[in-house]
């Protein structure tokens, strides 16, 4: 994977690299093992120290990290028998949302997730993970399929937002997102959403009307990007760090506001340092969460989801 290191994670990233080197040495020669243990310990401690003091904007940058695991990276690690299903049956296949059928701990599930690209070429294909209406209409098609066949839905949220383009408006971006929210609200199967990276506004929420919402430790979820917020408030996108702090978009904020139910801890140095370990941790939380809804009837599942969102908001009166 191409090296892409953010300034603030540099000391940690360098140590993690050393751990990797030492680990391969230790595999060949057990005499390195005490040294490896010591280095792992130090690295873990330093990472915890540095990452505990991250600003909200630094967490936003981690959530967008070029090496962060994307939906397909998790699909590869969490599921077997993956069958990707494509197209909205109306206009096109939007590659910025992937979806399909998979086996998860022995049961069939429907998976829908935003998909960013790695590198310029794939990013053009994936439109940088910013869906057009047909992406949401594909998602709706899959939600309805899940409902018809009684399959749980697992979604993975990772988008800057729905694509703001001419074609998107011509083909009804608003209607597509609104209809996706409605479809998620009505299906009689359990839905678990996980914010694995960026949770950008309505384009994220169209995969987010779930019974339970998980968030990775360094993921964010916001009504508007910090840059967009700063541009509106101060006509100055460079003040994004201030906006990020004001908007309360980090995992602990989201938990406190009731928007997410569980925070999934990331491996030392962030999910991008160890995709396998990130997937193992997500798997644990995901399976526990999904199993907790076993035995609920379709009506109970719809009601449970209704109550979850019904309670969100803060007002006087």
């Amino acid at each position: 994977m191409a090296a892409s290191i953010l300034p603030f994670e540099k000391p940690v990233a360098e140590l993690i690299e050393k751990v990797r080197e030492l680990r391969s040495l230790a595999a060949a020669d057990p005499r390195f093992e005490p040294e490896l243990a010591q280095l792992e310990d130090n690295t873990g401690r330093l990472a915890r120290e540095i990452f505990a003091g991250l600003t909200p904007m630094q967490k936003v940058l981690l959530s967008r990290h070029a090496n962060r695991p994307y939906t397909l990276d998790y699909i590869k690690r969490l599921f077997t028998d993956w069958v990707e299903l494509k197209g909205d049956r109306r206009f096109a296949d939007d590659c910025s949302i992937v979806g399909g059928l998979a086996t998860y701990h022995g049961r069939s599930v429907v998976v829908v997730g935003h998909q960013k690209g790695r590198g310029a070429k794939e990013n053009v294909k994936r439109n940088f993970g910013m869906p057009n209406p047909e992406g949401y209409r594909k998602a709706i098609r899959l939600y309805e399929m899940a409902d018809r066949f009684g399959l749980p839905i697992l979604t993975f949220i990772d988008t800057m937002g729905a694509y703001p383009g001419i074609g998107a408006e011509e083909r009804g971006q608003s209607e597509a997102i609104g209809s996706a929210l409605a479809a998620m609200a009505r299906v009689g199967v359990p839905i678990v959403a996980t914010v694995i990276g960026e949770g950008g506004s309505g384009g994220a929420l169209a995969l987010g009307v779930a019974n339970r919402v998980l968030v990775l430790e360094f993921s964010c979820y916001s009504v508007i990007s910090p840059e967009g917020c700063a541009a509106i408030l101060w006509k100055d996108g460079s003040r994004a760090d201030e906006a990020a702090a004001r908007l309360k978009i980090t995992a602990p904020d989201l938990l406190q506001l009731g928007v997410v139910d569980t925070i999934v801890e990331e491996p030392t140095g962030g999910a991008h340092q160890d995709h396998d370990e990130a997937a193992v941790r997500l798997d644990k939380a995901l399976w526990t969460t999904l199993s907790s809804m076993d035995g609920l009837s379709p009506e109970e599942l719809v009601d449970d989801r209704y109550r979850r969102f019904r309670g969100l908001g803060s007002f006087v009166g």
Partner: protein, 285 residues
Amino acid sequence: MTWPEKTLPTTDASEKRSLGAGVFRRCDGCSHTHDASELARTFEVCSQCGHHHKLDAEGWRRLLLDDGELAQWDDHLVPNDPLRFSDGKSYRDRVAALHKKGRAKEAIEIGRARLDGRDVAYGAFVFAFMGGSMGSVVGEKITRLFERATREELPVVLLQSSGGARMQEGILSLMQMAKSVAALERYRKTRLPFLSVLLHPTTGGVAASFAFLGDVNIAEPKALIGFAGPRVIENTIRQTLPEGFQRAEFLLDHGMVDAIVPRPEMKAYIGTLLQHLVGHRQARR
């Protein structure tokens, strides 16, 4: 961190046009100079060119509702400040300043009314209150509108005019989209209609939740309606947008709304829809 105090205008930009309006008003469409009272009489529609100026929530009540009467529901709900948000001026102060002016408590009014002789659950956004933005109160009131319409078996007529989700309540504003749409989904089981009226402007989180989910979507002439704001799109694609982009006529061409209905015909149009869709279960009174 220091926060430079912005010089804030004493009025909302959205209200400028009606403030200080003395005896004469110039039409935004054709520049014709009107007697201010004449524009009030025509519900802000220019008699010369037909341009629709913004009509406030009170004007819409007078235009659409029988006797102009709305028995308001949940008018007591006011914003909290869950994020302790400030952008130089605190959200709390911003809301307090609007309350002091005493017009509306929030960016939507809802209630029970009669429209063309039929009982309806009615809601209308108040654009003058923070650009009609949807925070927790707006989301809650729309949710209650659908819930109560479900219980009382009433058709829903909702007039939208909103810049989208309210930034000052952050992610909780986003969640209002899911909450209100879930309530709409429940309401649908009553087999009563949801008539969605899209006024100028309807964008962002309001457009991308319930606004387009009407059994019938009605737009006002030339209203700006869309997901992303025109400036955001221009900055993304780096080209100038075509004339008429995201206007009501554009939406009609692209199959997103059923009709563009001028203000003078709006009441009769909705009345006819109600006759078709609820006439079999609710007679006119």
